[in-house]
């Protein structure tokens, strides 16, 4: 399931909903991304996330479908927020549920790596020197590329 929203989410409530009624599920793996208070060595007062409505949902659904192709998953949840977020706030949740931990953990890692390089989101940071756009990191491309061989 994909959700793109401005509002925060409750991780515990999302886990409950993900596994409810399905007792094949042996575990849920998750990644929660948070806003940091430093960017490129400068203090960051807030991030603003912009996205491309329509394409965002399409790319997240493709990444989710690819995870289902590669691993035996009972459920996948991706929630990505947009708008202005302050340090400590949640940005993204990826959760994967599977009968066994290997599939859940690997699929969760895959999903956050691919999402970072494929979903059309952009961050700008509020710093003492003014607002600036966050630059894409080569490390993120490399992390996503590790999964290309499948």
């Amino acid at each position: 399931m994909i959700r793109v929203q401005r509002e925060d989410f409750d991780v515990g409530a999302e886990f409950d909903r993900l596994a409810r009624g399905n007792h094949r599920i042996g575990g849920i793996a998750s990644f929660v991304g948070l806003v940091r208070d430093l960017g490129g060595g400068d203090p960051v007062a807030a991030l603003t996330l912009e996205h491309y409505p329509g394409m965002t949902e399409k790319k997240l659904a493709e990444v989710e479908a690819e995870a289902h192709r590669r691993w035996p998953l009972d459920a996948v949840l991706i929630i990505h927020r947009y708008g202005r977020l302050e340090p400590g706030e949640r940005i993204v949740l990826v959760a994967t549920a599977s009968p066994h931990r290997e599939a859940a953990l690997a699929a969760c890692h895959f999903l956050i790596d691919w999402l970072k390089t494929k979903a059309p989101f952009w961050k700008s940071e509020e710093t003492p020197a003014g607002e600036r756009w966050v630059e894409a990191r080569a490390e993120d491309e490399e992390a996503a590329g590790r999964w290309d061989k499948g």
């Binding site: 991304g33 996330l49 912009e50 996205h51 491309y52 329509g54 394409m55 399409k58 790319k59 990505h80 940005i91 993204v92 956050i112 999402l115 970072k116 390089t117 494929k118 979903a119 059309p120 989101f121 952009w122 961050k123 700008s124 756009w133 966050v134 630059e135 894409a136 993120d140």
Partner: protein
């Protein structure tokens, strides 16, 4: 053709979206970028380095040789930084 701009491309070009008939001399993404660069200094500045510009047509990433049709939704944006 609907053109959409995001993040610093939007800021440099100065608008988020516009409608434009597909110019007769444009048949692919590379041609569109060249045509846009001639539209004004904001466009030329935003699109000067093709390595920093990603292009999506109808919500899918495409390369410079992707053919364009009138009616396409074409989005131009920098490399993504979500997650």
């Amino acid at each position: 053709m609907k053109l959409l701009y995001f993040a610093w491309l939007r800021a440099r070009i100065g608008i988020a979206e516009e409608d434009a008939p597909l110019p007769a001399e444009v048949d692919d993404v590379a041609g569109l970028l060249a045509w846009l660069r001639r539209r004004g200094p904001g466009y030329a500045e935003a699109l000067k380095d093709p390595r920093t510009v990603r292009v999506a047509v109808n919500h899918d990433y495409v390369g410079l040789d992707h053919p364009l049709r009138d009616g396409d939704e074409v989005a131009l944006f920098p490399p993504v930084t979500g997650g």
